[in-house]
């Protein structure tokens, strides 16, 4: 609300993901591929393997066309895109880390120059000098990765930076080293994976077999140690950061599983290349690359998912509000917005007056400034599908908006704003999914649970649902009449008698079925 919000119909988050995933898939290749070029050149010269050397020349051209062109433009593309979609986070990253970015730029400048001279130098330079450019390229590329990795991991696990705002505290944060090793390992694997592509179009079967075996030597060991590095990385991520990825809306867990599966497939496919290395078709090498892209993309999705509700951990929420009030926040801390209201704090608000007649219009504005950085109405992370699943009417939406930060293990920021603004948002959301089925149609306790409780509660005897509610069905049903009196943070849901009875009955059958202490997670 400090900056205008760009209305991307299909979802702003999806656009960032698209640009970023394509970029990382190329930029990691730019690092690993650099080492691959120079080591392959040394190997070819040592063995006097002219055919390999000739292939490497064409592979260099491919490398430059992919990394120097697409890699560089998509890297600038990330800056463009995050500036458009998350200007507050971008501005924070720029001001806190401009010297980091400037240092990275120096490395990048060297990297690009060295890449071009290495490419054009194939015909012009003697072996030693040519390899010298190759080494400079690789070292510069690796150094630029070190810098960017420090800043990216800072966003996920800023550690003590949140307290002292010191450059190096944020840079050397709990995940910076595991992430660096992890990413470099991925880079080495990608060097081999990309090499399969240019190898597969070679006509000389013997040469092809040599390149494929050499590429497999980059892919297989790298992927074999990847799980261990991943484990190290995960262990360094604080439990509360992971929490949002687990539980009833486990986006992060889903992507983590997907990443692991696709990684295993990539590994298997890489081994498969060794069966008939001289006969790998282009389609197969592209398949390997595609699966690896999927694995890499899923990994980045995990990182983004577990970072929620923050864009910079414990500091800035994904919707550009500051987690705590601090000097210089421009009034955009959650508490400040709660007190002053969105309509008075927000700069890019069309209607500053909330009346009876403009509730929905104002609600649309509130949605745009508070929700739209992650959600759309009916597309990527569309709220319509959630509302349809839960069948909430406007009153229930209004009650639930009061506890967004507790839902799904805290994956969302809290609603910030006044009660009347929250009502306006509820009014707008009510128009998105206009005709909820209503309480009368629901007789099934499980459905009641899934529509009303699963966001925060689990079917577990350790859950307050069991520990706080009386065992007697009638007393329990009676207690559910007034939720805030049970626990002040509970939403004031008005469940019908029928719903309450059904819910209590179903909960009790679960209690006996699961036995004490068993924890299962509700469905999504």
């Amino acid at each position: 609300m400090n900056y205008p919000a760009w209305d991307v119909a299909f979802g702003a988050g999806l656009l960032i993901a698209l640009v970023a995933i394509l970029h990382v898939f190329v930029s990691h290749f730019a690092v690993g591929g650099g080492l691959f070029l120079v080591l392959t050149e040394q190997k070819a010269r040592r063995n006097n393997d002219l055919a390999l050397l000739n292939w490497l020349k064409s592979h260099t051209r491919f490398f430059v066309l992919v990394t120097v062109v697409f890699g560089a433009v998509s890297g600038v593309g990330i800056w463009f895109t995050i500036g458009l979609i998350g200007p507050v986070a971008t501005s924070n990253l720029i001001h806190a880390y401009v010297w980091g970015w400037a240092i990275e730029w120096v490395f990048f400048f060297i990297e690009i120059t060295a890449a071009l001279l290495y490419l054009y130098g194939w015909e012009k330079l003697d072996a030693r000098l040519h390899e010298w450019y190759g080494w400079i390229y690789f070292i510069a590329a690796f150094a630029s990765m070190v810098v960017i990795n420090g800043i990216i991991t800072f966003m996920l696990t800023p550690g003590n930076w949140v307290k002292n705002h010191q450059f190096w505290t944020g840079f050397f944060n709990p995940t910076s080293f595991p992430s660096l090793f992890l990413r470099f390992d991925i880079a080495l694997a990608l060097a081999g994976i990309y090499a399969l592509i240019t190898a597969s179009v070679q006509k000389d079967a013997a040469l092809k077999a040599r390149i494929v075996r050499w590429s497999a030597l980059w892919i297989v060991p790298s992927l074999a140690v990847l799980p261990a590095l991943g484990w190290w990385y995960i262990r360094k991520i604080p439990a509360e950061v992971w929490a949002s990825a687990r539980g009833p809306m486990p986006t992060g867990t889903h992507y983590a599983v997907l990443a692991a599966v696709l990684l295993a497939v990539t590994f298997a496919l890489a081994l498969l290349t060794l069966v008939r290395p001289g006969r790998i078709p282009l389609a197969f090498s592209l398949l390997v690359a595609l699966v690896a892209l999927g694995a890499m993309g899923s990994f980045e999705f995990v990182r983004e998912a577990i970072r929620k509700p923050y864009v910079i951990g414990n500091y800035l929420y994904a919707n550009s509000l500051y987690a705590t009030q601090m000097p210089g926040d421009g009034g955009f801390g959650v508490d400040e917005v709660n007190n002053a209201g969105i309509l008075q704090t927000g700069k890019w608000i069309n209607n500053r007056e909330l009346t009876k007649d403009n509730q929905v219009t104002v609600g649309r504005d509130v949605f745009r400034v508070e929700c739209q950085s992650c959600h759309t109405t009916n597309s990527y992370r569309g709220v319509k599908s959630y509302l349809k699943l839960r069948q909430w009417d406007q009153n229930k939406i209004q009650a639930m908006l009061g506890g967004l930060e507790f839902m799904h293990n805290g994956v969302m920021p809290p609603f910030a704003g006044t009660d009347s603004e929250r009502n306006a948002l509820a009014a707008f959301l009510g128009t998105i999914q206009p005709n909820p089925a209503g309480a009368a149609a629901v007789a099934d306790g499980k459905t009641v649970f899934e529509r009303n409780c699963v966001m925060c509660h689990q079917v577990s005897t350790a859950d307050p649902f069991y520990t706080k509610l009386p065992k007697d069905p009638n007393a329990a049903s009676e207690a559910l009449k007034d939720l805030p009196s049970l626990f002040p943070l509970m939403p004031d849901l008005k469940l019908s008698d029928q719903e309450r009875t059904a819910l209590v009955q179903w909960m009790n059958t679960q209690r006996s079925a699961k036995g004490p202490g068993t924890a299962t997670q509700g469905g999504n």
């Binding site: 640009v19 433009v73 895109t81 458009l84 730029w105 490395f107 700069k347 069309n350």
Partner: protein, 384 residues
């Protein structure tokens, strides 16, 4: 209508070095970016002109490919040198730059698509040779058009970034970001000012091509020198007109900055105009005498000073536009002494390494000053 309440607030992080450090870096890196851009775009335009103008077809094609083969290096130079001012403009002017970018979000995002396509186009054109020369021209033309479009979007964004009074109307009319800043009176003159400059400096780039061939193939080098030199002169003459139109299109109080109200701005404008006119005469004389030394060293030297003054003038103009909204005093400065010196050291080391890389590659050899002494040129001129 003034809407100062739309100006976004800064973030809580202090400025990690004094204001002037970023200002200096912004202006200097912008200058380098614009020089690379001019070589790239102007070179490409003149390569096409050379290819398609009537007359000597063989030489035209040769110039075309001589330039085409350098474009895949000039474009990344432009991009890489553009990243730095993009970074520093966000440090100082993020409140304005992000906002205008968001208002014209889709055209701004499309810059990336255009750039990727133009880039691959340059490579494709450079890979062609003799027989496919025709196709290469079409491909390069497409790239050039895309780059003009990018320049146009940039002109839209940067003029909008300094016109906050226009923000609200545009954004609320279309928050989906399909906007431009077409109602801005200075938009077209400003855009043309940059594009015509690119052609002029592209002419100087051709003179460097001539210089590189001076010893190897004098006949060819002479033609390139004449072609590049004339292109430089015509474009610079055109620039005198475009520049006046640009100046006139500015609001009165901005225009008066350059006509007495701000002495630095006035001096810089005089330097720019005098430098431009002086360079035209010097070039004309150098072409007549075929003095490649003057054309390749003195004229670019003068034009370098001119572009640098223009870069400073541009900065003065931006600050004048933003005066009601932007106050450098707003920044809390807390220099990051643990990093800033590291940047300076690495930057210096980077520049040295970069020069060593170019030197070892042999980019500085082959054009010894001795080969280009005026005597060689003047003798040639006497003969012809």
């Amino acid at each position: 209508m003034m809407q100062p309440d739309l100006i976004p607030a800064l973030d809580p992080n202090p400025l990690p070095a004094p204001y002037w450090v970023f200002k200096l870096l912004l202006v200097v890196t912008f200058f380098l970016h614009i020089v690379a851009m001019n070589f790239m775009l102007g070179g490409a335009v003149l390569a096409l002109v050379s290819k398609w103008r009537s007359g000597d077809r063989e030489n035209g094609n040769r110039v075309f490919f001589d330039v085409a083969r350098k474009l895949p290096s000039l474009l990344p130079a432009t991009i890489t040198l553009g990243i730095a001012p993009l970074l520093f403009v966000q440090v100082l002017y993020g409140q304005f730059f992000y906002t205008s970018s968001i208002i014209i979000a889709w055209p701004w995002f499309l810059v990336l698509v255009f750039l990727t396509l133009a880039y691959y186009g340059f490579y494709l054109a450079s890979f062609q040779s003799g027989q496919h020369a025709g196709k290469a021209g079409g491909v390069m033309l497409s790239s050039v058009i895309l780059i003009f479009l990018i320049g146009f979007v940039y002109s839209n964004n940067l003029t909008l970034s300094q016109s906050p009074s226009r923000w609200g109307g545009k954004y609320f009319a279309d928050p989906a970001g399909w906007n431009l800043n077409l109602s801005e009176p200075t938009l077209i003159p400003r855009f043309l000012h940059f594009m015509v400059a690119a052609v002029a400096v592209g002419g100087l780039f051709l003179i460097f091509v001539a210089l590189a061939n001076w010893k190897r193939d004098r006949e060819y080098a002479r033609r390139v020198l004449q072609f590049g030199g004339k292109a430089f002169m015509y474009a610079t003459i055109a620039q005198l007109v475009v520049g006046v139109v640009f100046l006139v299109s500015l609001p009165r109080d901005m225009r008066m900055l350059y006509m007495g109200d701000n002495s630095l701005a006035t001096i810089l404008l005089l330097v720019g105009v005098a430098g431009g006119i002086g360079a035209i005469f010097l070039m004309s004389d150098a072409l007549r005498k075929e003095n490649v030394r003057v054309a390749a060293f003195y004229v670019p030297g003068i034009i370098g000073v001119v572009i640098l003054s223009m870069s400073v003038m541009r900065d003065i103009l931006r600050d004048a536009y933003l005066k009601p909204y932007f106050h450098p005093e707003q920044f809390v400065v807390k220099t990051q002494w643990s990093v800033f010196p590291l940047f300076l050291v690495l930057f210096l080391a980077g520049v040295i390494l970069w020069l060593v890389m170019l030197k070892r590659y042999g980019l500085f050899s082959g054009t010894k000053a001795a080969d280009t002494l005026p005597s060689a040129g003047s003798q040639a001129a006497k003969r012809s």
